[in-house]
């Protein structure tokens, strides 16, 4: 298992790595119009990864925001919990069959299906610990804690790096170009980190 805490621990950049176009699945419990921070992260990640890979997002959502060039598959959260967990696992199973790598956000509702699918289909699993409030919450709930510990043990790579939040453009306030530059730099580094992790599992198509 590889644990990658921050982008400066990783020296490869997209320019240094000869990249293979890969099929990547992003499994997430949150996706816009959800407002929690990981939702915006996954949408932006899908958009940026889609420039060099084939990306599918599998999310718990009802009417997701679309991203050009990205396939978004959803399971409604309005179904009872066990039923939606089953449907999500089924959808993930079918999608993962033809994929190179599965990246899952933390959160029991996606981590559990992701570990089951990855185990049975023998697909590499990358865990992104991006939702820290959920991570903290899960540590105090027995079942969730067990699931997270299990997924952490089984994941091929764990990534904790998180790019900066997108700076807002506010009327009556000058645009902070330095902040925007830092935001872009953090995303470039984050993508370099992810691509390096993904390339280990690349299979020629």
């Amino acid at each position: 298992m590889h644990i990658v805490h921050a982008y400066n621990h990783w020296h490869n950049t997209p320019n240094r790595v000869k990249m293979t176009r890969m099929k990547i699945i992003l499994a997430t419990p949150l996706y816009p119009p959800d407002i929690a921070q990981p939702a915006a992260y996954i949408k932006e990640l899908a958009r940026r990864l889609s420039h060099s890979h084939t990306v599918t997002v599998i999310a718990y959502a009802r009417a997701p925001e679309e991203v050009s060039g990205v396939t978004i598959l959803t399971i409604s959260k309005r179904k009872p919990i066990l039923f939606r967990l089953f449907l999500y696992t089924k959808m993930l199973w079918h999608a993962v069959k033809t994929t190179d790598v599965l990246l899952t956000e933390n959160g029991a509702s996606v981590a559990l299906p992701a570990i089951i699918v990855s185990l049975f289909l023998r697909k590499p699993l990358v865990l992104h610990l991006g939702d820290m409030p959920a991570h903290t919450r899960d540590r105090h709930r027995f079942v969730y804690k067990i699931i997270e510990q299990w997924v952490c043990r089984r994941a091929h790579t764990i990534i904790t790096d998180m790019p900066h939040d997108k700076p807002e453009i506010l009327p009556f306030t000058a645009v902070d170009t330095a902040k925007t530059a830092r935001y872009e730099a953090s995303w470039n580094a984050h993508l370099a980190l992810l691509n390096s992790a993904f390339q280990r599992y690349a299979t020629p198509h």
Binding site: P32, E65, R78, I81, R84, P171
Partner: protein, 369 residues
């Protein structure tokens, strides 16, 4: 003897209820102020026009023991009693809601009495140093944005959330919004059968709404205050205190924005523009469309509101409300065409409104926003 006008009926109601409640409030340790701005002016027209509101008195007073200022809501009307009970339930639910990322401040409850025939709800008066519209544009913008973000942070998405909120709040989605909009259209068409301009604007809005129901649904499930205007919140040291919790529901997240922006199109067009730019720069194209759709919906609603008042008032107030229908229709035209309302239309309306408003209503408006 001719039947009493609606205004006369309100005066009678007010007198009767004050006679009933004043001794009770004294017994409970509260003294009413001599000036009561919230039961004067056009207040009589604001009763029972929406399903959410009943007849009630909103009074200002003080607690005898410590002279603390309080706001007293009192009613013996069945709908009014329901409204006050619902408002209290909503307020309590907001305090313990599990899926909210941020919370609003609510005025502290001093006393709540519910008997078979009356409800009295007393809350601490929230003092603020100056009205919202007297703050700098930058302050107004950041406070409004903070308030919207706080509302948006309560998003009911799961089966469990849905079950929890349906017992307490009204929940609206695209179909329900469209059905209501069609009701507004029918009421307006019945009152103005020959006004083709108004009909065309409303029809254009309806078509836009029908075509984009998916976008409306996309941003539903959010907590939204349907009457989010400056007189329904107070700012104390950057904290926002929310009033009128009975106006909270789960619906499109831009419904509260829409009410606020339509209001600002009249009172502060620079703030209206800034908030639209914020959405355009920082959010998705679907969200900008959703905001436009909700503005259309809320404009249909306000035009319907003033249309319904026309048969219930007379003289200058009837004239003024007819002008209000024209003004909001002009804003509807501007919103549908993604343009700003002409400053001439705004200035003409403001001039006419000020000339037609009663002295009592002008007094009620002082410091309100």
């Amino acid at each position: 003897m001719p039947p009493l006008t609606e205004e006369q009926q309100w005066q009678e109601y007010k007198k009767r209820e004050l006679e009933q409640f004043t001794p009770l409030l004294t017994k409970l340790g509260f003294v009413l102020d001599t000036q009561q701005p919230h039961i004067g002016g056009e207040r009589f027209l604001m009763q029972a026009l929406t399903t959410a509101s009943g007849k009630k008195l909103v009074l200002l007073g003080r607690r005898s023991s410590d002279n603390a200022r309080v706001v007293i809501k009192a009613t013996r009307d069945a709908q009014g009693m329901d409204e006050l009970v619902r408002e209290r339930k909503n307020r309590a639910f907001l305090q313990k809601i599990k899926f909210a990322y941020q919370g609003f401040f609510s005025p502290e409850e001093v006393l709540f009495i519910k008997k078979r025939s009356l409800v009295v709800s007393i809350q601490k008066f929230i003092e603020c140093d100056r009205p919202f519209l007297e703050r700098t544009p930058r302050e107004q913008f950041s406070l409004a944005l903070k308030a919207f973000k706080t509302q948006e942070s309560t998003h009911a998405t799961t089966y469990g959330h849905e079950r929890a909120i349906r017992k307490i709040f009204e929940v609206l989605e695209a179909k329900a919004y469209l059905r209501k909009y069609e009701e507004f259209q029918n009421i307006i068409a019945a009152q103005f059968p020959h006004n083709t301009y108004l009909r065309d604007q409303l029809t254009e809005g309806e078509k836009l709404f029908e075509r984009n129901q998916h976008t409306i649904d996309q941003y539903c499930g959010f907590l939204t205050h349907t009457d989010f205007v400056p007189h329904n919140f107070r700012v104390v040291r950057e904290n926002i205190y929310l009033f009128d919790h009975s106006a909270l529901r789960f619906g499109n997240k831009y419904e509260g924005w829409a009410r606020f922006l339509n209001f600002m199109a009249l009172y502060n067009p620079a703030l209206e523009e800034a908030l639209i730019l914020y959405v355009a720069y920082n959010r998705t194209a679907e969200e900008l469309l959703s905001l436009k759709l909700m503005r259309v919906y809320r404009l249909g609603e306000i035009i319907c509101y003033y249309t319904k008042t026309l048969s219930r008032c007379s003289g200058n107030l009837a004239l003024l409300n007819a002008k209000r229908v024209q003004f909001w229709a002009a804003l509807l035209h501007a919103v549908l065409h993604d343009s700003a309302l002409s400053p001439e239309i705004r200035a003409t309306y403001q001039r006419e409104r000020d000339a037609l408003r009663s002295h009592e209503e002008k007094e009620r408006q002082i410091g309100l926003h």
